[in-house]
Amino acid sequence: MSNKIEKWLETNTFHHGEFWDILELVKAKEEKGLKISLCIPTLNEEKTIGKEIVIFRSELMERYPLIDEFAVIDSGSEDNTCEVAASFGADVYRAADILPEVGEKRGKGENLWKAIYQLKGDIIVYVDADIKNIHPRFVTGIVAPLIKNDTIKYCKAFYDRPMAYSSGIRSSGGGRVTEILIRPLFSLFFPELTSLIQPLSGEFAVRREVLERIPFPIGYGVETAHILDVYKEWGLEAFAQCDLDQRIHRNQSTNALGKMSFGILQTFLNRLKSYGMVDRLPELSTIYRQFQAEGNRYEQLTREIVEYERPPMITIPAYREKYGITE
């Protein structure tokens, strides 16, 4: 086991600096006849979306045509995210307007899933919109392993994750859910997957042939479900990961991380059940309970978190028609 992990770390873990020559990537992409789409899922990201679009369009479309298509897929922002994105020339779609016949669900996973229908690339690169120190490496680092190695199907980013503080930047703390939830679970049930340093990172590149065949939880569990499903179907060899150095982003409160963990755990346990790895799992509650104190009085806060899942896109008739899938 540890030998396999060590070998995988050696062969499938990269640093973005290995892919500094973007022109070489463009040539390799063209030689293989690949089309690459970039999707940024958004919800109220007006402060950071403009910079991402400017830098990606300039560096990865105009200067080096690595990206063939670039879209922002929005969950219904109430700020100026869509206006800012459009003003810098991005194709902006409301998730609700894509495949309207399947209805509307709110959640990042919904945007990622609908991107498979909307975008035409052979590889889809997903990058979160809340990155303060955006740089072309956030795309080149995760797409390059897929361009260069046909056996790699899914590449994740990982970081030294500093969080922004008022007095500057200090390195620590990021990836708390990974360290106290995901890594222990993977260690217990899927030890090989512990080699993914940041399985929850929002930046990843995936081949269409994989994306269209896996279901998508629409909420917090989407990244976890992807990793489990891809691992089950294609094994550890299908994965790669790339060190993108620092990612400066918003810090989330412990309460928010609690909700996130609840959603991820639902997805994880449901996967264990469907893989036949556990029996007699009770029906899982969808109510997440937290408490707040006011003086000597304690109040229960409840929130329903249901990890609804979209089916594999290949099962959607409109998708099959659009991409001419007959089998």
Partner: protein, 388 residues
């Protein structure tokens, strides 16, 4: 090439519109440059970025010199003359400051974006700009990011370049991100000084009745402010920063004042310096305190005459763009160029606010006027319309 002044001017509105196509490239350069911290004397990473861009654009003679300046040549069709296009690469912000930029629909905000990330971005984007406009020059363009410009840097990068450069330079254009309309063609006489005050450890507070270094430094400032300053020729003493003390109730024993004297009149800066030295001597002796004046930088006054063809060209260009010129003397790279007898101007690219503050910001739309102005000026120089 537009070979008459009317043709250059009539092309301005078209260029302004055509330049919209380089918006993402220019802004991405400004953002990526702006997010590399570059305090004076630590500009290496920013200059390396510049140098990589020059390489990607296939420029000639790409180099980083001993002083840390980054430069390259965009060869002209004849290449007999050289036009220097430069922007300073350093900022007033330390490496510890969060340099993340944010982009709004028509603005960019972040430390140093106007001073001078945008200016430097214009220098690195210039080859692409000229390519898209289909403009070639007979002269070579020397594109340069200058190191060690600000504060204690004392224009070290430009001085080094001018001392060692072997190529004849026909004219110089210094680019600042802000403010559009800026037209500097004269360097002002300047002295940048620092007063350091040290109260002896065994100071007799009862004897002198003062309350520490703050009080003594305040007295120095008050006395300097009493010096009569002429309105014409324009002269001023600018107090840039004061620092002393650590708490509410502890007598500070040291204090520091940073200031600049600026004057258009030859000799005025020296005269004021002598007066400040007298004040320092008097207060030091009267308070048993050690007070020292250090000169950090000095500039001689000088410049192009108002009627110089280069100044006239710039005025006409701004007039065509309906931008009001804001004539102001410079203490930047321009003064070194002018001292070397190289006809030069400093221009600004766009509107901005909060210069040198953490929330410094620039407007995006006026930048295209600023770039069109730069292109037209280079065409005018290349066409010989700025020669005396």
């Amino acid at each position: 090439m537009a070979n008459t002044i009317p043709l250059i001017h009539s092309a301005l509105p078209g260029h302004r519109n055509a330049l919209q196509s380089v918006r993402e490239i220019l802004l991405a350069n400004a953002l990526m440059i702006g997010e590399i911290p570059s305090p004076t004397d630590a500009e290496e990473e920013r200059i390396t970025f510049l140098s990589n861009r020059f390489t990607e654009d296939g420029l000639d003679n790409i180099s980083i010199d001993q002083a840390g300046n980054g430069m390259a040549i965009l060869p002209g069709t004849i290449g007999k003359n050289n036009i220097l296009v430069c922007a300073h690469a350093d900022t007033v912000f330390s490496e510890k400051v969060d340099h993340a930029m944010s982009v709004g629909p028509n603005s960019i905000k972040g430390p140093g974006i106007g001073d001078n990330s945008l200016g430097l971005a214009a220098v690195v984007t210039l080859p692409e700009i000229l390519k898209r406009l289909g403009i070639t020059f007979e002269d070579n363009l020397i594109l340069m990011g200058c190191s060690r410009s600000l504060g204690r840097g004392n224009l070290g990068g430009m001085r080094f370049f001018l001392e060692h450069n072997k190529r004849p330079i026909r004219a110089g254009v210094c680019i600042e991100g802000i403010e559009l309309g800026r037209l500097s063609y004269a360097s002002i006489g300047m002295l940048r000084g620092e007063i350091n005050l040290q109260v002896p450890t065994k100071y007799d507070w009862t004897k002198f009745g003062a309350s520490g270094a703050v009080a003594i430094l305040t007295k120095v400032v008050q006395r300097i402010m009493e010096i009569p300053i002429p309105m014409e020729p324009k002269t001023k003493i600018l107090f840039g920063s004061m620092s002393s003390g650590t708490s509410f109730g502890t007598q500070p024993t040291s204090a520091n004042l940073r200031f600049e004297i600026r004057s258009e009149q030859t000799g005025m800066v020296s005269k004021l310096r002598d007066q400040i030295e007298d004040i320092i001597d008097e207060i030091a002796n009267g308070s048993d305190t050690r007070i020292e004046l250090s000169i950090i930088a000095q500039r001689k006054p000088g410049g192009l005459p108002y009627a110089h063809p280069m100044v006239k060209s710039m005025r006409a260009i701004l007039d065509t763009l309906k931008v009001n010129p804001r004539v102001e003397p410079s203490v930047g790279e321009l003064s070194e160029l002018i001292n070397k007898g190289i006809p030069s101007v400093t221009l600004g690219l766009t509107k901005g606010t909060h210069k040198n503050e953490l929330n410094e910001s620039i407007e995006i739309t006026p930048t295209f006027d600023g770039l069109a102005q730069l292109v037209a000026l280079l065409q005018s120089i290349d066409g010989g319309f700025c020669d005396e």
